[in-house]
């Protein structure tokens, strides 16, 4: 009974597929389109005659010429050389919330009733999708405690960007736009926080953790001033340590006249347990592709939600969706809005999946997500910390929320095997590689797992045993780990200089061929 197996003889598919640019034969076709009829061609002539002089393409693009089955086969093989969440115990990619993406939701978003909608259609023809967006907004208000939600952001980072735009709009409305030019964040907050703030011209102040692993409150007190525009912080941070002084952080910044923005990419551990508004935050954002179950799609499409309190409603990204008792409609009536973030209306497929997900779980199910991800995490940590060479720095002896940042520092000291070596070796066991840390590595030789609620106890046990086995290898035969991977699709290590040397920088096959004229013959 159960699922656990610690003696898998895993071997990833290894197809050695050539680069697609080298496949096919002249004349082959993969797909045909509906051409103009003879009648139309008689009326208007050739396509080339309709291209203005000077704009006609001189040379056909050197795209592959392949038949359909051969295109399909090539990509099926590449898919087999990719370790998606559907085929592995994807606990390693911490901070990413790699939960199960329900297939029923996928079926629904693939319906033509969504895929064939144009964003500029008359609102009367869009009542279904608008109702779903409206309901999503209402549910996110309940989950965050905030008063107004905009579903316009294309992803979590664009939602953070919207929040920074809102900070600027708020202070400008108060006549303090120029004066309040500093944003405070923490080194363990997601890089999109400093990234978006700097994109909009803010000066950054970064707080570092104190001995308890929490951002330093005294440093915050010393940092706030009449220049403070906002605090952008997450809780728990990537360490999984809950900041129990968060209200003091919020109060300190509010007293200085700044706004407080909660990065809730980490929502999975706090659903129904604690809410952004109740801790005094003015704004927060959600990554709807993470905690709300959308598949991560090789890095997107994602979607974000901007959630704000009443006093910031007038600045929100437009449009929101409202209901007048009879029909749903786009509302642009946020008088000092930061405007539209992008063309059209966010990423609707992710919004439909989020809706279906919330409806399939209900209020108790949503809270159970948080409870089980906390239970899973602490259970996993207890087991992981029995592995030689692995430790969990900071706030020793305390439980963590839904994820944790561990350290292989001792193992590296003992054996010379680093976290990057282990990250390659774990692929040999049939697991996705793991997330070490965001830049910079505050914790040495980091490892950040996140065992979300969809993993079973057996899954966690198997995950832990794989790392125990690698640690054993490190102590007994370190070369085996250092020279990994051995069973992955790629059987040897890459020449890193190809990624770090501008002289070798090639993002297309044509660029690479120009630098390495003999490569096709290799």
């Amino acid at each position: 009974m159960g699922y656990i197996r610690t003696d898998r003889d895993f071997h990833e598919a290894r197809w050695d597929e050539p680069i697609i640019m080298e496949l096919g034969n002249p004349g082959e076709r993969g797909v045909m389109i509906p051409l103009a009829s003879e009648h139309i061609i008689e009326c208007v002539g050739s396509g080339e005659s309709l291209v203005p002089q000077g704009l006609l393409r001189k040379k056909m693009p050197a795209l592959p010429e392949m038949s359909q089955m051969q295109v399909l086969r090539h990509y099926m093989r590449l898919s087999q050389e990719t370790i998606g969440t559907d085929i592995n115990i994807d606990i390693g990619l911490g901070t990413c919330t790699m939960k199960y993406s329900p297939k029923i939701n996928e079926q629904m978003v693939r319906s033509p009733k969504l895929t064939e909608l144009h964003p500029y259609q008359d609102e009367r023809t869009l009542q279904g999708i608008l109702e779903i967006m409206y309901r999503d907004q209402e549910y996110l208000k309940a989950i965050s405690g905030m008063d107004c939600v905009s579903l316009q952001p294309s992803g979590g980072s664009q939602a953070i960007f919207a929040n920074v735009q809102t900070i600027r709009a708020y202070h400008e409305a108060n006549g303090e736009g120029e004066q309040r030019n500093e944003i405070i964040t923490t080194i363990l907050s997601h890089p999109a926080n400093p990234g978006t703030a700097a994109t909009l011209g803010y000066k950054l102040i970064t707080l570092y953790p104190d001995k308890d692993g929490l951002p330093d409150l005294e440093a915050l007190k010393a940092s706030v001033s009449e220049h403070t525009a906002a605090l952008m912080i997450t809780n728990p941070e990537d360490t999984g340590i809950y900041n129990d002084r968060i209200r003091q952080f919020v109060d300190t910044v509010h007293e200085a006249g700044g706004l407080c923005v909660y990065d809730q990419a980490n929502l999975n551990g706090v659903f129904g347990i604690t809410r952004a508004r109740d801790a005094g935050f003015d704004m927060c954002h959600y990554n709807l592709h993470k905690s709300f179950s959308s598949p991560h799609g090789c890095q997107g499409p994602a979607a974000g939600a901007q959630c704000v309190s009443d006093k910031l409603r007038r600045f929100t990204a437009v449009p929101t969706v409202e209901f007048d008792g009879e029909k749903y409609y786009f509302d642009y009536d946020h008088p000092d809005s930061i405007g539209k973030l992008r063309k059209f209306y966010g990423v609707p497929a992710v919004l439909v999946r989020a809706y279906a997900y919330i409806r399939s779980l209900g209020p108790d199910g949503m809270k159970q997500i948080a409870e089980l991800s906390i239970l899973n995490n602490n259970y996993m940590l207890k087991k992981l910390l029995t592995i030689s060479g692995l430790s969990m720095p900071m706030a020793e002896g305390r439980f963590r929320m839904e994820q944790a940042r561990l350290s292989w520092e001792q193992l590296t000291e003992d054996t010379g095997v680093t976290t990057d070596d282990i990250c390659r070796r774990i692929v040999d066991y049939g697991f996705q590689d793991y997330f070490a840390s965001h830049h910079p590595r505050v914790i040495p030789e980091p490892f950040t797992p996140e065992p979300v609620e969809t993993y079973s106890k057996d899954d966690i046990d198997e995950f832990v045993e794989a790392f125990r086995s690698i640690a054993k290898e490190a102590y007994e035969n370190p070369e085996l780990v250092k020279s990994a991977p051995h069973k992955a699709a790629l059987a040897s290590q890459i020449d890193e200089s190809g990624l770090t040397d501008w002289d070798k920088f090639a993002t297309t096959w044509r660029a690479y061929k120009k630098m390495n004229p003999d490569c096709a013959a290799e």
Partner: protein
């Protein structure tokens, strides 16, 4: 005790450890009495949310969930149910079945940020996408996908500003055409507000083309970091002065940025071969359904110009050699440029963008090949031209307001009908037709005008139906 006596604890299909016995084993391992006990030891009591979340009760079986959700979605009327002439940045094209089939593969669909060794196939698929885009655009450097064309244009502006500053050419002005996509224009204004100044160049009132005289005056007066144009323009006509615009920009030390239409490039020249330094745009036409605007994804590309490349804010998937001859690997190259690599010191912010659509566009391009892309461009040109010809027979409307050659879109002016676009579109809707995008708010100078879109999927019959409907509507008095 029979089967009916089984414990009725609620065990959700997505949460294996909600089985009470398993949960208990895990708690025992931790020496904790309950899960509450764990988080209550971490979170101060006054921050705990003590109510039940105000959400509807769950629909736990798939059948009823699907009935419920589809019951709502079925209230939508789609471009498949009716006939659509909407475009304006989101286009209905044929989506080959293998695009849908492959982007539904669980391996691609559910992978995320795994790297060189775990996701070798994904990395190759993304590199192949950029390689094929490189052929389509005649570009050596192609970015990882961005959110959409709006993000690509906005970032291209900032790339130009930084690249110019790095060369010591510290001019913060970006010159744009007055006919630019208004949504992208507003996005770029907000995105560049603290970095540059976006200035509109006049267009010729008759032809819509950028006024070269005004462009030169603006370049002479205050210079610019870059000049931007769209080809075809948002209003559908070709910008036939592409080479002159680039030459003028260069004469005044400005870069030239262009936004081509991906679906046109099998037959229309890449702006990079007409003097542009940077190209940017959207790949939604290459295998993505419209999805109510959710199928968008952007690209930025240029020649092997490292001065520009080092200013790109996105991931770049680089190819590199491995320990085995003739075998390649991939990784994120020169990552210090990205906020993931250097936080606030990065070029711009960066997050989860649209990787699955990049892979899908690669599948599309490989399926279409050079001949397919040529035919796509050719067919759209022909059908657009035919539609303009047929609709021009309708009295009292001006079809193709600018009288130019167009790709896929053209403006119809309704001023002489005495009706607004809104009124006309309402009447068209009653004929099961989505009329063109109303541009009377964004471009009041063109009166009551709408932007009509034709694709390779548009049939002669649909064009006839539109002609019949518009004839009746414009002849009918209010």
């Amino acid at each position: 005790m029979g089967v009916t006596g089984k414990d009725k604890a609620f065990v959700h299909p997505y949460m294996p450890n909600s089985v009470p016995e398993i949960k208990q084993q895990m708690l025992d391992e931790l020496g904790a009495g309950s899960i509450d006990e764990i988080y209550k030891s971490l979170i101060p009591d006054d921050l705990l949310y003590k109510e039940r979340l105000d959400l509807p009760e769950p629909i736990v079986n798939e059948y009823e969930l699907k009935r419920h959700v589809m019951g709502i979605l079925n209230r939508n009327i789609t471009a498949e149910d009716y006939v659509s002439f909407l475009g304006a940045g989101c286009y209905r094209h044929q989506v080959p079945a293998i695009c849908d089939e492959l982007n539904m593969r669980g391996e691609f669909l559910t992978a995320y940020c795994g790297d060189t060794y775990s996701d070798h196939g994904k990395m190759q698929a993304i590199f192949e996408y950029t390689s094929m885009m490189g052929e389509l655009l005649d570009a050596d450097i192609v970015s990882y996908t961005t959110y959409d064309a709006g993000q690509s244009v906005s970032s291209a502006f900032r790339i130009a500003l930084r690249a110019q500053a790095a060369k010591g050419h510290d001019n913060r002005r970006i010159l744009i055409p007055s006919t630019m996509n208004p949504e992208i224009r507003s996005q770029a204004l907000a995105y560049c507000r603290n970095a540059g100044e976006i200035i509109t160049v006049a267009s010729d009132p008759q032809t819509g083309l950028m006024s070269l005289q005004d462009l030169e005056e603006k370049l002479k007066d205050g210079g610019a970091a870059a000049v931007f144009y769209e080809n075809p323009s948002y209003l559908g006509f070709f910008e036939t002065q592409a080479e002159q615009i680039a030459a003028l920009a260069h004469r005044y030390q400005a870069l030239c940025i262009a936004q081509p239409e991906a679906a046109s490039l099998g037959i229309v020249e890449s702006p990079l071969n007409l003097g542009a330094d940077l190209v940017c745009g959207d790949i939604q036409p290459l295998g993505m359904h419209m999805q109510f605007g959710g199928g968008q994804a952007g690209f930025i590309a240029c020649n092997q110009d490292l001065g520009l490349a080092e200013q790109f804010p996105t991931y770049m998937y680089g190819i590199t050699k491995t320990g085995q001859d003739g075998r390649y690997g991939w990784g994120r190259a020169m990552n210090y440029r990205c906020s993931h690599g250097s936080r606030e010191n990065a070029n711009e912010y960066f997050g989860t963008e649209t990787g699955l659509w990049g892979i899908t566009a690669g599948i599309y391009l490989a399926s279409m090949g050079p001949q397919g892309m040529y035919e796509l461009g050719e067919t759209i040109l022909q059908k657009t031209s035919y539609a303009i010809r047929r609709l021009s027979e309708i009295k009292n409307i001006t079809v193709n307001l600018f009288g130019r050659s167009n790709f896929q879109e053209f403006v119809i002016n309704f001023d002489q009908t005495g009706k607004t676009v809104k009124e006309i579109n309402q009447e068209l809707l009653a004929c099961r037709i989505f009329g063109g995008k109303d541009i009377s708010q964004d471009f009041p100078q063109y009166g009551q005008s709408a932007l009509y879109c034709i694709s390779e999927l548009t049939t002669e019959e649909e064009i006839e139906n539109l002609r019949t409907a518009l004839t009746a509507i414009t002849e009918r008095r209010q």
